[in-house]
């Protein structure tokens, strides 16, 4: 029988979610800076707007009344503390959760989070383009350090709750990224495969660290259909929907084996995996990618709730 506190399990799970989210926003900002630099105006403005939509932040940003440009949006996404969707707020929440479960973490795992948080305490403005890139680079590096530390932790439920939170968060992020970008990329009348388009698709790949993976897997150049397929159904790519769905099942199975707790969450996760194994990217595009992704995001949220029930988070 395991004696992990319910509160500890919930904090670890959310620690996994918040670190993943901070990392995702950092990569999104980085890729968008690049896209902005490459684009002719007003394509840059669209780039920042889509970054806001992907991170569920468009309304909060509109409330600030600020202009939609790199300086404002990158500040908003990195260090604005007036809303919960900035890197800084994610790190703060991650750190709070980590502090509450210090005993379940190794020193290395804790210090990676704490260092990233301290980095943000030092500054009050992300600064210009290169300073912003340096800042997100730091976040990415610390989050890599955190992931590394997690993998060196004891293989027990502490590690798995963090990884479970990470997998659920990653699934949501990737689905949202494809959904928003795909909509944006195929405006009516726009010629698919143009220059802006190419940059846009590269941006997506960068956000999920998949540029090199794409080149290895698809020799015939950048094609929207192939990008979609890679991000959705290729389990080799750690941030693909298929990989997240797969990892959720695996981690739940390991938790079940160790704690004896299996149930609704396992059943939902396995059913999702079975469906994912039959999913083909091109068919989804034809039958309605947006609807598919919306359903996926809803299901992911239901799985999140089932996990909370199964492990008595509340």
């Amino acid at each position: 029988m395991t004696v992990m506190l319910s509160r500890t399990a919930a904090s670890l799970y959310w620690l996994g979610r918040y670190t993943e989210r901070a990392d995702f926003i950092a990569r999104l900002v980085e890729a968008t800076v690049r896209l902005d630099a490459l684009s002719a105006r007003p394509a840059g403005e669209d780039a920042w707007e889509s970054a806001l939509i992907v991170t569920y932040n468009e309304e909060a940003f509109a409330e600030t009344g600020e202009d939609l440009n790199q300086q404002n949006v990158s500040r908003f996404l990195t260090m604005d503390t007036a809303h919960p969707g900035s890197i800084m707020e994610c790190l703060r929440m991650a750190r709070n959760n980590a502090r509450a479960v210090r005993t379940a973490l190794t020193r290395e795992a804790w210090t990676a989070i704490n260092r990233a948080w301290l980095e943000f305490q030092k500054i009050d403005n992300p600064g210009g383009t290169s300073a912003t890139l340096n800042l997100v680079e730091t976040v990415k590096a610390e989050m890599r350090g955190f992931e590394g530390a997690i993998h060196r932790m004891m293989k027990n439920e502490a590690t798995w709750f963090i990884r479970l939170g990470g997998a659920i968060e990653r699934a949501d992020n990737t689905a949202r990224l494809i959904d928003v970008k795909y909509h944006l990329l195929l405006p009516e009348g726009e010629k698919v495969g143009g220059v802006v388009d190419r940059d846009q698709w590269t941006t997506i790949l960068q956000t999920v660290s998949a540029v090199t993976a794409y080149r290895w897997l698809y020799r015939e150049g950048l094609k929207p259909g192939s990008v979609i397929e890679l991000l959705m159904t290729r389990p080799e790519l750690p941030r693909s929907l298929a990989a997240c769905v797969d990892e959720t099942v695996d981690v739940l199975a390991m938790l079940g084996k160790r704690t004896g707790l299996q149930g609704e969450a396992d059943r939902m996760a396995r059913a999702r995996l079975a469906r994912m194994n039959k999913t083909r990217g091109d068919e989804v595009i034809v039958s309605g990618l947006h609807e598919y992704l919306q359903a996926f995001i809803r299901e992911n949220a239901m799985l999140d709730a089932a996990i909370a029930r199964q492990f008595r988070f509340v």
């Binding site: 029988m1 395991t2 004696v3 992990m4 506190l5 319910s6 509160r7 500890t8 399990a9 709070n96 502090r99 509450a100 210090r102 005993t103 020193r107 804790w110 210090t111 704490n114 260092r115 301290l118 439920e157 704690t259 004896g260 707790l261 492990f311 008595r312």
Partner: protein, 500 residues
């Protein structure tokens, strides 16, 4: 002002050029290590403390709400003989404290013998009628004591305060040692220093030894913290981690049928021993403060029923109360039959007319304290205060004399300390930790040295700008060199002979 020629624990009374013979090597190290080098090591230590989150929260301060306690590299050192006699005094004191608590919440023999005025107990808010009649396992109440000591000369140690409730600071003892081992390894080649890292095991052993009757076989032990916003949270998590036991918050516990459980992902699990770092007032809203959001309703009933051990026991405040403190010499004699090996600082109780008058007449020379104050607040250091400050404090004492005690301003010992203007003596105090379980009390070979970083200051509290130092307890020299490869001969081998 304050006596600047106080006894220095390294330099003695002769200053840097004539250190105490046992510490000539340390004095040389202080002299020979360039300031820039010390500065670099200090910065490295502080960066580590910050990264590890060894911070404490200062309530009411927003900006610096997480601060690190300044750390000083020059250790304070106890010789083997000094430590032996200190330990004997500490054990005697802690045994007396436990006997006193057991008596005062039991038969009250000490009151019958007329040693302490009864109203000092019964009108004392620290006296908890709620725990009267309870018999904790092995009759231990103060499992963890942090006895604050000060020193005024080579053999003059005094107890300044008995902390028998939830003394903190042990994590600094452990972390400071880790920092010293990394930053000043040469000192550990020079001196044979007793290890402190066995503390978590000792503590865990103590916890297990006081498990409730019938639960001794494999008791489930936890550390109870008010939560991660508490100023000492780092220490709570550190200790739980080092012992490999759960760190729980009040909301993680619940009581059913007088049994305490914690909520786990697998359901409710019974808890047997709780090292609680939540104050009495907030422990159980059904018994103590009903407005406490931190408490565990019913935990006191479970404790009373003998189904869970709380350490330290609720009600201990009556033993370390400043008003009771002045009776400690009598208390020690009453329970041990012997004179206290560790003396008290002379204390004037303003509740007594003669003492009251003396305090009013000599306020500018005395340290005057609120009986229920702590952390350096509610305290006047006469010689270091302005006339206006003295006058203001005087009014407060006149209004409620029974709430105040006064002590002479002692020339606290100093230890050389790294300051902005180089190495200089700074006043220190010392908190050793004593653990009591089933058997005899154990003194950890080390402790927390707090240092007042401001020149001449006697206030060492971290909330008032104090810092910490590592405290070396030296082991007896075995007579033969412990290392076969000595890096250099000369001074070191000479020192070796002197120490032997």
């Amino acid at each position: 002002m304050v006596n600047t020629r106080a006894f220095d624990e390294i330099w003695g009374t002769g200053g840097p050029d004539a250190p105490r013979t046992e510490f000539a090597a340390l004095s040389r190290w202080i002299h020979d290590t360039p300031s820039a080098d010390l500065e670099r090591r200090l910065q490295s230590a502080e960066a580590t403390f910050r990264q590890l989150g060894i911070t404490f929260a200062v309530y009411g301060e927003k900006e610096a709400s997480e601060r690190i306690i300044p750390f000083d590299l020059v250790p304070r050192i106890f010789l083997p003989d000094e430590w032996r006699s200190l330990s004997e005094g500490l054990i005697q004191r802690v045994e007396a404290i436990n006997a006193f608590l057991n008596d005062i919440y039991g038969k009250r023999e000490i009151l019958k013998a007329g040693i302490i005025p009864p109203e000092l107990i019964f009108r004392n808010p620290q006296f908890r009628t709620e725990v009267a009649g309870i018999r904790p396992p092995h009759q231990v109440w103060a499992h963890i004591c942090g006895i604050d000591l000060i020193r005024t000369g080579p053999d003059e140690f005094f107890v300044l305060e008995d902390n028998a409730r939830t003394p903190s600071g042990v994590s600094y003892m452990l972390e400071n040692r880790e920092a010293m081992l990394r930053l000043c390894p040469e000192l550990f080649r020079e001196f044979r220093v007793a290890a402190v890292d066995g503390y978590p095991d000792m503590l865990h052993g103590t916890m297990r030894s006081v498990a409730p009757a019938g639960r001794e076989k494999d008791p489930l032990c936890v550390v109870l913290t008010p939560g991660h916003y508490n100023s000492a949270y780092y220490e709570h998590s550190y200790l739980a981690d080092a012992m490999g036991i759960e760190l729980v918050e009040p909301a993680d516990l619940l009581v059913d049928d007088d049994i305490v459980y914690m909520r786990t992902i697998g359901g409710y699990v019974r808890v047997d021993v709780i090292y609680r770092r939540v104050d009495d007032d907030f422990l159980d809203p059904l018994v103590f403060r009903p407005d406490s959001m931190l408490g565990v309703p019913g935990i006191m009933a479970a404790y009373r029923a003998g189904n869970v051990t709380l350490m330290n026991a609720p009600g201990n405040g009556i033993a370390d109360d400043k008003a009771i403190y002045s009776y400690m010499p009598e208390i020690v004699r009453f329970y041990t039959g012997k004179d206290a090996k560790l003396p008290n600082v002379e204390t004037y109780r303003c509740r007594e007319p003669d003492a009251y008058q003396y305090v009013l007449d000599h306020m500018h020379e005395l340290v005057v304290k609120l009986v229920d104050g702590s952390g350096g607040y509610g305290m006047l250091v006469g010689p270091a205060s302005t006339k206006a400050e003295v006058a203001e404090f005087r009014k407060a004492v006149e209004a409620q004399p029974e709430r105040y005690i006064a002590q002479p301003t002692l020339a606290l010992s100093t230890v050389p300390t790294f300051t902005d203007s180089g190495i200089a003596p700074r006043h220190v105090d010392f908190r050793p930790f004593v653990l009591t379980g089933k058997g005899k009390p154990q003194v950890v070979s080390g402790g927390l040295t707090r240092v007042a970083l401001k020149e001449g200051s006697l206030v060492v509290n971290s909330s008032q700008g104090g810092g910490t130092k590592d405290s070396f307890v030296l082991l007896d020299d075995p007579g033969t060199p412990t290392r076969s490869q000595r890096q250099s001969g000369g001074g070191r081998s000479q020192q070796q002979q002197q120490g032997g």
